[in-house]
């Protein structure tokens, strides 16, 4: 494994959920330091793809390498930072912002060891990047939705990873918080981090994106220079003179079948 190895290389990847093929024939490579936006309509498979790249969804076919290591042998989890698609960072018991961010440090901590000085420095640094260093002692449930999303980004940041996966970090977040998010991601990009971001709409993140990958019905429909938000849903990806909103012809449908009996798993 060398540092020059590609952070993400997926060849002919496929994902099936509940026996139904969802993603088919996905080829995706992400170079070191790249900022890639995975875009597409609801149900196009963009979140499923990120979940496959992080190992949360098993691949039905294809080969995935992270930093040049086949996924099954991959153990350098401290190099990966993941921001799951969530609307809230709170759970059934109060937790402080500091505690949630500190849990991002677990990739580098050994069992039964207290936080070291470098752990604390990384947590402080992560909080500063997202602009929440003055809220460290506050309960996370007292924060607004956008601030909670920033806490989740700080949590991923605290492990000091080289590769970030963010699943819809801007969904349901107001514009000022989207700008704060964009600032944090700009700093990450400046440090040379590789970023894979799932987004329905880019908004203030648009200037940061190096490359757009558009998913449509479980396949990669476009892979190239960044697109404006309204171009993504065009059949021809925004050729000149066609800058109008057309109704997307295909009806939206959810691929994952809902199974209700106790032992009938989705897998």
């Amino acid at each position: 494994m060398t540092d020059t190895a590609l952070p993400v290389r997926l060849v002919d990847g496929a994902v099936a959920i509940g026996g139904r093929p969802i993603l088919r024939g996905i080829d995706l490579t992400v170079g070191s330091g790249e900022f890639v936006a995975l875009m597409g309509a609801n149900g196009s498979g963009k979140s499923t793809l990120v979940r496959a790249l992080t190992g949360l969804r098993p691949l039905a076919a294809g080969e995935l390498h992270l930093f040049g290591t086949p996924f099954d042998d991959f153990a350098a989890w401290q190099r990966i930072g993941f921001v799951p698609q969530r609307t809230s960072a709170s759970s059934g018991v109060p937790a402080s912002v500091w505690e949630v961010v500190a849990s991002g440090r677990l990739t580098r901590r050994r069992l039964l060891r207290p936080l070291s000085r470098s752990d604390r420095r990384a947590i402080h640094d992560a909080l500063r990047v997202v602009g929440l260093d003055d809220r460290a002692r506050d309960g996370v449930s007292h924060l607004s939705g956008g601030q909670q999303q920033r806490v989740l980004i700080a949590r991923a940041l605290a492990g000091e990873p080289d590769l970030f996966f963010l699943d819809e970090p801007t969904a349901g977040v107001d514009l000022p918080n989207q700008h704060a998010l964009a600032d944090a991601l700009r700093q990450l990009k400046g440090r040379g981090a590789t970023i894979v971001l799932v987004a329905h709409e880019l908004g203030p993140l648009a200037p940061l994106v190096d490359r757009a990958v558009v998913m449509r019905d479980g396949r990669v429909a476009y892979d190239g220079p960044p697109l404006a938000d309204h171009e993504v849903h065009h059949p021809d990806f925004g050729e000149p003179h066609t800058h109008h909103h057309h109704a997307t012809p295909a009806a939206q449908h959810d691929h994952a079948p809902d199974v209700a009996a106790p032992l009938e798993g989705p897998r």
Binding site: F82, F165, D258
Partner: protein, 334 residues
């Protein structure tokens, strides 16, 4: 009988030790159950353990150990159903609730045991606990406490966000099973103290009480362990001095009383927190028009009685539904 004489009795000393360890261990595990919104898991496991106790009565082996084994199996089953299935944890719990209780009552009948012998396990009988049982209780409780506190960073992360924990390289399934097994063990530990039907109270109520006032996970975990100990030891002592009062229900009611006392405090704290939360600094309304208040009756300040709320670089005073900000010699409506 005076207090000292009572505490000199061996059965009372055994009971106090059992109460102390149970009070520490049950809320420690309960915190993780509440965090995962599985507050009723202890209850489900308690019902499953009834089958275990009955199995012990039927086969003539120690009901404590059969209860541990059956409760652990039940806990693993709940986890499997939760993980493999699409159903929520609560459905899995409900399935085991009824199966466990029905199985227990059925087996007790088959064993030709009276309902009274099952009742000591259903509602606890801490004062009849034997020396061996105290040692087993202390040993199991110590293991539960050591794991729940020692592995708290990992257990916290897994309970907080499973997907994140998995991508962080933690073995989420193993930690989930660990919490389930810990819950099963602490259910059987508390079985002799408060009884299987009331076990969950000692796991959940102290946590519910402390989270009225705490803001961090660590303080919730620590304070609920303290409260659990106070309730179980206190309840035992009250029951010892008052005639015809059973320790099990006293412990549970004492811990519920703690919640009732803390609840209004929590409401008041949250209300206060809401009132004093800063107004958004980039509030566009403030820029639209410059409104000054008319003649203002007094000067706002620390002692004026109006709540001061941070608003960007200055302070707004909340005055009869208005927000007054100082501007030179007058106040602006913000």
């Amino acid at each position: 009988m005076s207090g000292l004489e009572l505490f000199a009795l061996p059965f009372m000393q055994r009971a106090l030790l059992a109460a102390l360890f149970t009070g520490l261990a049950a809320p420690a595990v309960g915190t993780y159950l509440v965090q995962r919104r599985l507050a009723l898991m202890g209850d489900g496991l308690g019902h499953v353990a009834v089958t275990g106790v009955a199995l012990g009565l039927l086969t003539g082996t120690s009901p404590t150990w059969t209860a541990v084994v059956v409760a652990v199996l039940g806990a693993i089953l709940i986890e499997v159903i939760r993980e493999r299935g699409h159903t929520n944890g609560d459905v899995a719990l409900a399935l085991l609730f009824y199966g466990g209780l029905a199985g227990g009552v059925l087996l007790t009948g088959l064993a030709d045991q009276s309902a009274a012998s099952l009742q000591t396990y259903l509602f606890g009988s801490i004062t009849t606990i034997s020396a061996t049982d105290v040692l087993v209780t202390m040993g199991l409780a110590a293991v539960v406490i050591a794991i729940a506190v020692g592995l708290s960073p990992q257990l916290f992360a897994v309970a907080q966000d499973q997907e994140f924990a998995r991508v962080a390289g933690l073995n989420v399934r193993a930690y989930n099973l660990l919490v389930a097994v810990l819950a099963a063990v602490s259910v059987t530990v508390a079985m002799r103290t408060v009884g299987l039907l009331l076990v969950s109270a000692l796991m959940v109520v102290p946590v519910a009480t402390t989270q009225q006032v705490t803001r961090s996970f660590r303080s919730t975990l620590g304070a609920s362990m303290v409260l659990g100990t106070l309730a179980s030891v206190g309840g035992l002592v009250i029951a010892a001095f008052v005639e015809r009062v059973a320790p099990g229900p006293t412990i549970v009611l004492l811990s519920l009383a703690g919640f009732v006392v803390t609840w209004p405090l929590g409401i008041w704290l949250r209300h206060r927190q809401r009132l004093r939360a800063p107004f958004p600094a980039d509030d566009p309304v403030a820029d639209i028009e410059h409104h000054s208040t008319g003649e203002h009756p007094h000067e706002h300040g620390d002692a004026c009685g109006h709540i001061a709320v941070a608003h960007g670089d200055h302070v707004d005073y909340v005055h009869d539904g208005h927000r007054h900000a100082e501007h030179g010699k007058h106040y602006d409506e913000h």
